[in-house]
Symmetry: C4
Subunit: 277 residues, 4 copies
């Protein structure tokens, strides 16, 4: 198991090529935000925009249209129950985040089914929050996409069957992760990333100032943007995103007792500039 | 009667434990905000988020969905007239704030009844604003929860029967408070806190720059967050919250003629960091 | 004709009394904002909040509920077509602003009629924008309130019958103003204020950086807050409000090519603190 | 072909005349923003307000009313499907932007038809985004207005018939532009402006930090404001607007990895003040 260091930032975050346009930096789709948790999808989308994704769309409940346009006018909106529009959007995306604020009712399952049925193996699918639980509980939910799961410990228990108090056993975690045929970012005090190539990386930055609602949603947006826009290896892009998220929190925690997701979003552009290789 | 001093801050606001997660810092539910006064519930919820509560939900009129998600995406929304969802939420909460912008019509009474019927004695219930008046006027409104009332002087008159011009008599106030079997934060120039253990504490910070609409709503959110997340005694957590609210106002009043609730909310994170023990 | 100087600020803006509460600083009602111009009423209300009014309510089209709660959660909302609620609110107000973004259709006339029929002579009524035009065109629109008109030159032409190119004649303006039995703030390069006591005051601050949509709406909110909260003479409070509005613009114009209404609103609290007597 | 230099700024951006009012600085109408892309129209309108246009209205889908009033209260809203109001507004405008977030469905075509049928040759019409594609595809869409197209390279291919890989041939571009009888701002790495007088100007500022969704929408708002308010030649106003947009991005890119459209909007007022001749 290797520790992720600040070196990962300059390795991944490069100066953008002069002759580039927004398409160069990828298309990201955030899928989530039921009427009760619209803010989660908005924070994920806002994080993706601020982290440099070329084009960001938020597929969410129709009730969230105005909040999306008000909070992050740079992003586009689609009603995730408007099947024709939603499906046609999915097909053109580089990275899809599925889960922030999605909930766990019948609509959520329908949304997951729609995404799973329309993604291809070349597309990266980040599965977060209640979508992890629903996938764990519904064996019928399968997909061809390249999957990254971002469970916290209870979600990992549901997905892997490993009780929380046995999750210190990285070999056990890895065995479960490999059988899922997916990358797993296990979020906890000192998060761990399990890659399909067998590497396990541990995050030693981040702290308790981050323990607040919406922090995981924000991570998914940063992950999506980093994967969509950078050229480093898949593994390096993921490590850089995870490190960025927690390292910003550490810096802001010097002045703030609790660091909010929206604080991290606001600081992304400057942090990435300072740590650009 | 004792004066609350700045010492209370370091006594209550501690460094967060390294191995913690959002659940460690409690679940807060704000109940209020009819269509005319949605901002009150939003300010209470926003204050709770910025003061470090782990998870914050705002139960309010359905008309306020978008304003909630736009102003404080970190918070969740629930329609307080959607009884099944509302009731199931109540059961899992550590602290509930009832009243900011709730109004005094039939819907408000129904909402109070729903909260009162579903809380347990282990849950802290902060009753504010028009909810105080409605409780004072409806003897049928009773509950098992651990109650904190936050009346201003006219509301205290309604609740205690003590006319405003006789409220300088702390023994009289205390007698009424004890018979209510509740903690009372009497908001006025130099607010007083009456605890069930017989202690009375007086606040000597705060000033007229705070005399503006929404200031009390903001206090309830800070109270809820402090009670939900800290380990100090119940009495100390309440004093620290009340002190924080007014002390921030005093600091901001050095530069601002009137200090708005949203100004206080924006400064909470830095103030708590500076005064962390 | 006298020039308004900075002395007016310290004469009017005093330290708030220690033993005060939000009611001490007055109740302000903004009436305006049809669905097309909701921002106008929001800016007027936001200016009133930031300028220190104790309690601010915005009576506007029902479509603007969410924008009100999102932009200025400190303010309350009422649907100006909900006659019972609207009328009961009017009765308790100290100062009412009628006009920002109200438009000139049948709804606007109905709203003006409702206000005019329910105000009393002890209440201050600031009439702005299209409401001035409608009053000029409908002789049937009369009221008992104490009136302040805030016309720009074209509106003054409609109200007084004096063509713009003859409005340099202050005696002519004064004669028309006296026959209206109202205070008139004639907005132009170097605005003039005509009082019922015969005084005429001229403003020599302010400049072309203020020439942008919404600037007049913002003035009405500052006027309302100053009249509602301060103890100086009626004439002095009005002069101080008008001076504050333009003087802030001049200060901000040192750094900004155009000064927006929302810029002025953001600076009110600090400006008032710096110029507090 | 000439390079646009910073000299263009002081040549165009002058101190405003003392005796001016909002009408002096022109009326701008932004037409765009379907329910999925409301943010695009809001950013264009917000840019126009911050760049100094006297009065800005946003004609957009009715779903976007609240987002408009929340994000930019200085702007007015109109439902672009409310034909009578929309048409009457068009007639009074100095500059109209058609396209940001308009989409390409039947409603979009109807909106374009309404604009095209109601503008006159004295009005400036900036055609952007999907409106360019729709015009390219529908020969029946013709208008008398003075047209500026702002295509990126794919849109220019559709409009001119010139494949992207042949667009380095400026004579070929110019021939197509002249036959369109319109000014063309060809957006790419080092954008080019083709004027009807035969001049071609090249932009050497701007960079890849600008490659993000919404950047073109923001440019249209700045263009509209500069054309509406300044007295320099038509060609100079356009060059100054294009230069301002990219030069601000370059300045902000010193501190930010990606520069967002809303970052540029926030900096417009200070940039214009610093570069005022």
């Amino acid at each position: 198991m290797q520790t992720i260091t600040a070196d990962i930032l300059k390795k991944v975050i490069h100066q953008r090529p002069q002759n580039s346009f927004k398409g160069t930096f990828g298309k990201v789709l955030i899928v989530g935000g039921n009427p009760n948790m619209g803010g989660a999808a908005i924070m994920a989308g806002s994080a993706a925009v601020h982290a440099g994704a070329g084009l960001v769309t938020i597929a969410t409940a129709k009730e969230n249209l105005t909040a999306v346009h008000s909070v992050i006018p740079e992003a586009m909106f689609v009603d995730y129950q408007d099947a024709p529009k939603f499906i046609s959007l999915i097909k053109g995306m580089d990275v899809i985040v599925l889960g922030p604020g999605l909930g766990n009712d019948a609509t959520a399952i329908k949304v997951i089914q729609t995404v799973f049925a329309n993604v291809e193996s070349s597309q990266i699918l980040i599965i977060d929050g209640s979508a992890i639980t629903l996938v764990a509980q519904n064996a019928a939910l399968t997909t061809n996409a390249t999957i990254i799961y971002t469970p916290h410990q209870m979600e990992w228990q549901r997905l892997s069957g490993i009780p929380i108090n046995e999750q210190d056993d990285i070999h056990c975690n890895q065995e479960a992760q490999q059988s899922l045929n997916a990358t797993v970012i296990l979020k906890k005090h000192h998060s761990e990333i399990y890659f399909l190539n067998g590497e396990i990386h541990k995050l030693m930055v981040g702290g308790p100032a981050m323990a607040t609602g919406g922090m995981g949603d924000t991570l998914t947006g940063i992950l999506a943007a980093f994967i969509a826009q950078f050229d480093a290896s898949f593994e390096d892009r993921i490590q850089a995103a995870v490190f960025t998220h927690s390292k910003i929190a550490d810096e802001l925690a010097k002045e703030k007792y609790v660091v909010l997701p929206t604080d991290i979003i606001s600081y992304l552009q400057k942090f990435m500039k300072k740590n650009c290789g």
